[in-house]
């Protein structure tokens, strides 16, 4: 079986090396194969046993921090929760840095553009009250709260941003995660700047640049639905243009 050329007990793992100061090139490693191992385990094994200069990023290892996303056989995935056996293609594994972002080195992508766009989409809290006021009562079953809650489990891993072909073709596009955050805040009764949010997502590279291809929703590791959030923003901007208020 190709990729397992040292019997059944080793995998051939191709890792993309290089970064801002060196052209990217693939490098193959032999890694022990186990029944249960994640892609992050494999990358860590290479760094700890074969090449300590291999650069990658991780923190929690349990799918909460959003640090370890990489391209795995051409698909963006959270590597700490991705079992090698489920993603092997003809017995081989190819790991690279996230698409649509600059590469710092090897498997570590530069997340700056991703978070800059998060801010550009007004993805920050605009309070309705001060610390001296009572806490606003929120109905957890209300429609607005349900729409807001749908997106709050985003872990900022940038997998949707990496999967998005519109981001690939349009560097100004804010991307699914930032727009989903804007939609979450737009529906949050505790947020005071709905107009500012709609202004932020109506400009160059805003929600109207989305072609509804849906890779964000397909690849989100937390099963979130940025595609519907962006559709919600489009509807809200049109409604506002016709004089409708939320």
């Amino acid at each position: 079986m190709p990729g397992q050329d040292q019997g059944q007990d080793h995998l051939t793992v191709t890792v993309m090396r290089g970064g801002s100061d060196a052209p990217q090139r693939p490098e193959a490693f032999q890694v022990p194969a186990y029944d249960n191992q994640t892609v992050l385990d494999v990358v860590s094994w290479i760094q700890q046993n074969t090449d300590p200069t291999l650069t990658y990023r991780f923190a929690c290892r349990v799918g909460m921090c959003g640090s370890c996303a990489m391209m795995v056989n051409g698909v963006p995935r959270w590597t700490c929760r991705t079992h090698v056996n489920k993603v092997l293609r003809d017995g081989a594994l190819e790991v690279g840095p996230l698409r649509n972002l600059p590469v710092i080195k090897d498997l570590a992508a530069d997340m700056d553009p991703f978070f800059d766009k998060w801010v550009a989409a007004e993805g920050r809290h605009h309070p309705t009250r001060s610390r001296d006021d009572d806490i606003a009562p929120i109905d957890p079953a209300g429609d607005d709260r349900q729409a807001a809650s749908a997106g709050i489990e985003c872990i900022n891993c940038s997998i949707c941003y990496s999967a998005c072909d519109t981001v690939a073709g349009n560097p100004d596009y804010l991307g699914p995660a930032a727009l989903q955050r804007a939609w979450t805040l737009f529906n949050d009764a505790k947020d005071d700047s709905r107009d500012a949010i709609l202004d932020a997502v109506s400009g160059k590279g805003g929600c109207h640049s989305c072609h509804s291809m849906g890779s964000c929703t397909t690849y989100c590791p937390n099963d979130l639905d940025p595609l519907s959030a962006i559709a919600g923003l489009k509807r809200a901007t049109v409604k506002r243009a016709f004089g409708g208020r939320k």
């Binding site: 073709g169 160059k204 109207h208 640049s209 049109v238 243009a241």
Partner: protein
């Protein structure tokens, strides 16, 4: 807000075009059933305010809709940015309108 205005213009022009496309195709299929010469077609369209307004509006909607769509494609596929992209897509819009208006005038005037 320009992007939003273009988005609205493209959606609204699509809304206008939808019935035009259906009527256009429907009439073509119906009208040629018994065979129809160019002279017979021109006999029906020349001097007709209805067909002038119908295809005139159709051409306006197509010019708006197509040039905005091509502007996006020029940006994402051809890598054109800023003023160059706007200028090329505006030129395409004007070109489509000029060609369409010439054709409408030729068959309805």
């Amino acid at each position: 807000m320009t992007e939003f205005r273009l988005y609205m213009a493209q959606r609204l022009s699509a809304l206008v075009m939808a019935p035009f496309v259906l009527v256009h195709i429907g009439v073509m299929i119906y009208a040629i059933q018994g065979g129809l010469t160019a002279a017979e077609i021109l006999g029906r369209t020349q001097g007709s305010v209805f067909w002038f307004a119908f295809y005139g509006l159709f051409v306006v909607a197509v010019s708006i809709h197509a040039s905005i769509g091509l502007r996006t494609i020029l940006g994402e596929w051809a890598g054109l940015r800023g003023g160059a992209r706007d200028a090329v897509s505006a030129l395409i819009g004007v070109g489509l309108f000029a060609m369409g208006a010439t054709a409408v005038w030729a068959v309805t005037a």
